[in-house]
Symmetry: C2
């Protein structure tokens, strides 16, 4: 069993805490360990043979630094020179893992998701590994808890209990509100989590069939002398990424794969897509306020707000539904309903050429 963690995101929605060199997955968003570190720790009970992190060259150094302390399992870091979405990253990982261990199983996980019940997560993954042994491509489908319009959905042929594998009818793009309500009521629609489990040989077979150009390009990477010292592959990886288009594994492979199954899962999941998602995953005080990394929060008639301020005392007076983020060189105050628009701040900074804040 090999873990592949997709850690190439450059998320701008957590500015000013997230920056080019410390995107969301490398941030200490909960005040302690980074989301990448939490993702690594979450899979250790599965006793994987190795953990491969696919990241970006800009973040490779910080990624290496954050993972230096994890020595129980070998950790390999692959640095993409540019982002090309998930299909090339997965194809490259499958090529390397399959070369060393053709009979292996891959578990592909995003680096920046939150999971409350880690034991249940491990249980579900083990079920998926078992179900993948037949050659099916397995994906974890999060049982929806609200008519969310911000996620893609997976429709199963029939709905069913958490922890069993069901054939997938189709992948569905982000729905509008009315359809999201239908999906929630139907009982056989699940949120697409981006978590995949498959035999390495199975995904390589599907890649070769559905994305032959990508598969061929990846196969040209010569692993003969590479062992697991992946740094020596960097020139070949850089060349590969210069020659291939970007594509998601969902669109490139999963939607038309021979046998795709979904395992309904319910382990307290969030993709933590913006600051406004944090109160979902961190319990607030009686007034619904969440204070992260502060030296204390004083609330005078204030509620439902989030404050991130490292080591500072924070005081709120007569406000609600705010997001307040303080960093050494920048401060953000945002209405919770406008958390998606934090990226507009980043765009403004990009246009103004204020790279020191990016």
């Amino acid at each position: 069993m090999y873990i592949v963690i997709m850690a190439g995101g450059s998320g701008t929605r957590f500015w000013p805490l997230s920056r080019t060199k410390t995107p969301k997955q490398l941030m200490s968003v909960f005040g302690g360990k980074s989301m990448l570190q939490r993702t690594v720790e979450r899979v250790l009970p599965l006793s994987p043979k190795r953990i491969m992190i696919v990241t970006n060259v800009h973040q490779a150094e910080e990624t290496r630094r954050q993972l230096a302390g994890y020595t129980a399992v070998p950790v390999d870091i692959v640095a993409e020179p540019v982002g090309r979405n998930t299909a090339p990253a997965i194809a490259l990982a499958a090529h390397i893992i399959g070369h060393h261990d053709p009979e292996s199983t891959m578990i592909v996980l995003p680096a920046d998701h939150y999971i409350r019940n880690e034991a249940e997560f491990c249980r579900i993954v083990k079920v998926a590994v078992e179900a993948a042994s037949s050659g099916s491509l397995l994906t974890l489908g999060i049982e929806p808890t609200r008519p969310e319009t911000g996620y893609g959905y997976i429709e199963a042929a029939v709905g069913g209990d958490s922890g069993a594998a069901f054939p997938v009818s189709r992948f569905v793009e982000k729905p509008d509100g009315a359809r999201a309500l239908e999906f929630l009521a139907a009982g056989n629609f699940y949120w697409n989590s981006g978590m995949f489990i498959w035999k390495t040989s199975a995904i390589r077979r599907e890649l070769a069939r559905q994305m032959p150009d990508l598969a061929a390009a990846v196969r040209r990477i010569d692993l003969a002398s590479a062992d697991w010292a992946l740094a020596s592959l960097q020139p070949q990886i850089d060349a590969l990424y210069g020659s291939i288009p970007g594509e998601s594994i969902d669109y490139g492979v999963m939607e038309r794969a021979a046998s795709v199954k979904v395992i309904p899962a319910s382990f307290g999941w969030s993709d933590v897509g913006s600051w406004s998602a944090l109160p979902e995953v961190i319990e607030g005080d009686r007034e619904g306020n969440v204070a992260i990394a502060t030296a204390g929060l004083i609330s005078i008639d204030s509620a439902d707000s989030l404050v991130y301020a490292h080591g500072k005392l924070a005081a709120l007076v007569g406000v609600d539904n705010l997001i307040v983020v303080d960093t050494p060189d920048a401060i953000l105050v945002c209405h919770k309903d406008r958390a998606q628009d934090v990226k507009k701040v980043v765009e403004t900074l990009q246009q103004a050429g204020r790279k020191e804040y990016l």
Copy 2:
């Protein structure tokens, strides 16, 4: 002509920028010079003989530091061991100044007021000095621009033009909204600014008549060898303040003085009573946002807010009417309508014994 600047305030409404050791008058509230420094600079064109600052022992060191650069006029600093309101401070100043220069005129000014039109301020003070030569106690009455319920008022026997002296009928406590509207319409009511001009001999005479105990206690301070080296008086000043009750000069003297006159004034005054007053005296951008000391403000659909953040980039997204104050160890976010309640934060800190934030 002697300037006496009342700088003993311990203002808590500008927390977290104002602290015990740097109250409002010592703060760089506009991002540059402190309000005390601005007050001193404002009176320099009047060519006073000396400037006396009455402050608190806790703030004396910072007061001295801030005024070290002003050498055109001698600056004396008197440090009160405890606050006893304005009457004892004025009585002490009058005792010292009267001892050295019995024929002098005193100009008493708060250290923490904002005045936009400094030339007009000087013109009005000169009119007041002239009017005080007859022995009347002069006060500057700010011509009201709104039905303010937060200030005391001065009623003149008749209303009149800015820059002439009118007999005062009475001092009026803070009115309710209906009476404030009447005062505004009447035309002979003025805001009590706490700025006084009088012959030193005149205020000493009224103090002796109306507050004989205070006057006697102050007279016991032996100035024979003190010259203007006021530091040598400190043991006597400490003893004085241990023995006298607190009282305001308004209640103790002005309300029943023999001849009190008001000079209507209109020079863009604000007592800058809380964070919400700053937008009155600092022009905002097109959206009404005011950024002080920041490295820039990015506003996405945000308006009518104030940000104080030293050297930081500030970003507002979808918010309005907020006060955001960032300091090295604390951060405040407050609705503009609740600026008066910032003192509740300070009270909470006091009750919790978190002195490091006071």
